[in-house]
């Protein structure tokens, strides 16, 4: 079946309500292409989304999906994957969902290294609530709730991931369709927690981190001869605040995913119609 799957099979017939020109269109298209390219189909794919513009993605894609509460999509994804490792689990969120209200879960999801993919549509703004500062907004970015700018350094999600023991860290740009799909595909193929921060510009509320800005400034690590298995090299590009990079920054090929480390590799959704055969042994333990 997988060979016949086209990326449009992952498209629902619901028309997106994202603003025309929103980066999320490109982000989603890349995710769908990557899913199709890796031999998945809508019936074995589970998409989890949080709240925000990004959270709408579950509606616009066709697959098994849960649109959850704000910031908690990652634990849902872990639960799905551990309960049935045969499923392809993709978690999608925004910078507010993942690095503000869900920042605690992000750190632990990275540490836990469950074999799934996390795509963050980072537009450096709160779009759905109409333009407030996000955790990745620049410190002088003026918004309705921060008229002089947030006056706090933006979160560096890649550094946060690295410090949390990530096994796969990447960044892409929704407008560079080919590279974005390629990078998400690598994240899916990674045996562990594949994290991709996607520059997904907000055309309505962010006039600083625009398509033009990213087009002009983005450096592709693929063209720089970057060795993604080199931790020190990864650290260098991740902590480089002078440049914006796209590409796979870090990949730990020796990291053991949670499922393998804990022996959780079987589908646990099938059970019998009574207690397990030897269940009286559980009672006898209390003698």
């Amino acid at each position: 079946m997988s060979s016949q799957v086209r990326f449009t099979d992952f498209k629902s017939d619901k028309q997106p309500t994202w603003c025309p020109g929103c980066g999320d269109f490109g982000t989603m298209n890349g995710m769908m292409k990557a899913l199709a390219n890796t031999g998945n189909d809508p019936d074995n794919t589970f998409v989890v989304a949080g709240i925000g513009c990004s959270g709408k993605i579950g509606t616009y894609m066709h697959s098994y999906a849960l649109h959850g509460v704000h910031g908690r999509a990652l634990p849902v994804g872990a639960g799905v994957k551990l309960a049935n490792p045969e499923l392809e689990v993709m978690v999608a969120g925004g910078d507010g969902d993942g690095y503000s209200i869900g920042a605690g879960h992000f750190i632990h999801a990275v540490r836990r290294n469950v074999n799934m993919t996390y795509v963050v549509m980072d537009n450096r703004i709160y779009g759905l609530t109409k333009g407030q500062a996000s955790p990745t907004s620049r410190d002088d970015f003026e918004t309705s709730t921060s008229p002089q700018g947030p006056k706090q350094p933006p979160v560096n999600p890649l550094a946060l991931a690295l410090a949390s023991g990530a096994s796969f860290i990447a960044q892409s740009f929704s407008s560079d369709a080919l590279r974005h799909a390629e990078i998400v595909q690598e994240a899916i193929e990674h045996d562990g927690f594949g994290f991709v921060n996607v520059f997904s510009p907000c055309v309505t509320f962010n006039d600083v981190d625009t398509y033009d800005y990213f087009r002009d400034s983005l450096v592709d690590l693929k063209e720089e001869g970057h060795d993604e298995t080199d931790y020190e090299a990864a650290k260098k590009v991740i902590l480089d605040s002078e440049k914006e990079y796209q590409g796979v920054m870090y990949r730990d090929e020796n990291a053991v995913p949670y499922g393998e480390a804990h022996g959780v590799t079987e589908n646990m959704t099938e059970i019998g119609d009574g207690a397990p055969e030897d269940a009286m042994d559980l009672v006898r333990e209390f003698y």
């Binding site: 509606t59 098994y64 207690a275 397990p276 559980l282």
Partner: protein, 587 residues
Amino acid sequence: MPADFNWAIGGEAGDGIDSTGKIFAQALSRAGRHVFTSKDFASRIRGGYTAYKIRTSVDQVQSVVDRLDVLIALTPRTIEENLDELHDGSVIIYDGDRTTMQGVEIPDEMVGLDVPLKSLAEDAGGAIMRNVVALGAACEVTNFPIENLDSALQKRFGNKGQKLVDNNKDAARLGRDYVGDEYDHEFNFNLETTENDYVLLNGDEAIGMGALAAGCRFYSGYPITPATNVMEYLVGRIERYGGHVVQAEDELSAINMALGAARAGARSMTATSGPGIDLMTETFGLIATSETPLVIVDVMRSGPSTGMPTKQEQGDLNQMLYGGHGEIPRFVITPTSIDECFWKTVEAFNLAEKYNIPVYLAADLALAVTEQTYPPEAFDMDQVEIDRGKLVDEDEIDEWLDESEHFRTHALTEDGISPRAKPGTAGGAHMSTGLEHDELGRRTEDTGMRVEQVDKRNRKVETAIERESFDYREFGNPDSDNLVISWGSNEGALVEALDFLAEDDLDVHVISVPYIFPRPDLSEEINAAENVIVVECNNTGQFANILEHDSLRRVQRINKYNGVRFKADELAEDIKETLAETAEVHQ
């Protein structure tokens, strides 16, 4: 009333009180005696006082009483703390050589047995065994065959080598012989043994075992007293059945992971206490709206806020019934005894999947940490039935597709119950969301569909009320004019209070309620009785308020919220007083 015997060991945290107490409880259970244990964690005075108490009888025991017959006191404070419960002829075993115990005064009417626990333990191989020396002394005092203690020591230390087991057996014998040789006293205790086989377990363990029996394969939780034991029980056991326990980073994560596993199609559970329920409430509405089957265990402790974490309370009823913004359909089940913790857990999983609904299963600290003996047949696994509800497979998908071949996961059915398709089922791909949605699970703000979905979710609760038996348990005289109603863990104390009340020729009808929502309609019983008293461990009478609402009648209340569970004899006194007050008002 059972011819009971009450025993305790007390000392400071770190004195090995818990494990020593458990060994003696195990010995009694293995000797065919019924056992009911309780724990004093913290002190009425400052300090780290802790005690493990055992009530034992050849008949079933299901409550604590204000009485102690034999006390092993490792600290003077242990005696102070228990003066109210000690009586004429109570025996206190202590080590007068211990620095803190030197010069300790044993009240004249009691029997003090000064036993050199530490030095006898050293003779047997190590000072660490001094508590076991005390257990041997207790065997002598109670005329309890020491071989039963051997068996419990074997269970406790067997995996650490036979030498250690033998040393402990020797230590126990040195304690027994010391009392026999040094004290020429006639002790009037006789712990007779029977041929019966019992198992000894607490409420948390019963919930964990119930979950395994019911097919729970995924558990995520965050450690919190007094619910942690559920997680600790499952770790190491759930793997035998292909399941897994995740210790999450917080309760927000724990419930969302459990939700994820449930969406994947696994039977899934989380357990916590009140502070965790507060956090989980965020996701609770999502579980209900997305119609995900999930069992959430609340092992209640004293609140609000951090409250008294190691103390008893039944204060979360309103939270479980009404917690969360908007109107959330849910079930709330409150098992009334330890064996019922097992059976109600099994039932909770079935209800969750039959009605695609979150189920609160509420125990409390008194049930969670209390151990009680049962015949193993009380947990007959052959009686466990699993009903996965409307879980459809590939062949059944077709009947739930709409004209555009989309799976109607929130189909508007007559009984309100919609189908579930596990991810991986061909043709079943669908989304679900915390947003109001149409039959396909897609967001809608259509006024008609909104009303239809709300009605549908409520309709399945109505269906459950029609199809299920949300019944109550009855004790005492059903024709009595005095009706006492309780929920959760108070049942044992109430049942034993009946015996105390009978001594005063007081006749009482007890109704013990394990289902709070949906719940049995008690209005007829309430309105037929002359006196109605509702017993619960909280201040405001949360259940009493509900019953007044249901029956349109004022009820009397007995509320306890000092952090200590009801005791049978004390509860009998409370009931007597309440009935007397009512009589006065009527005159």
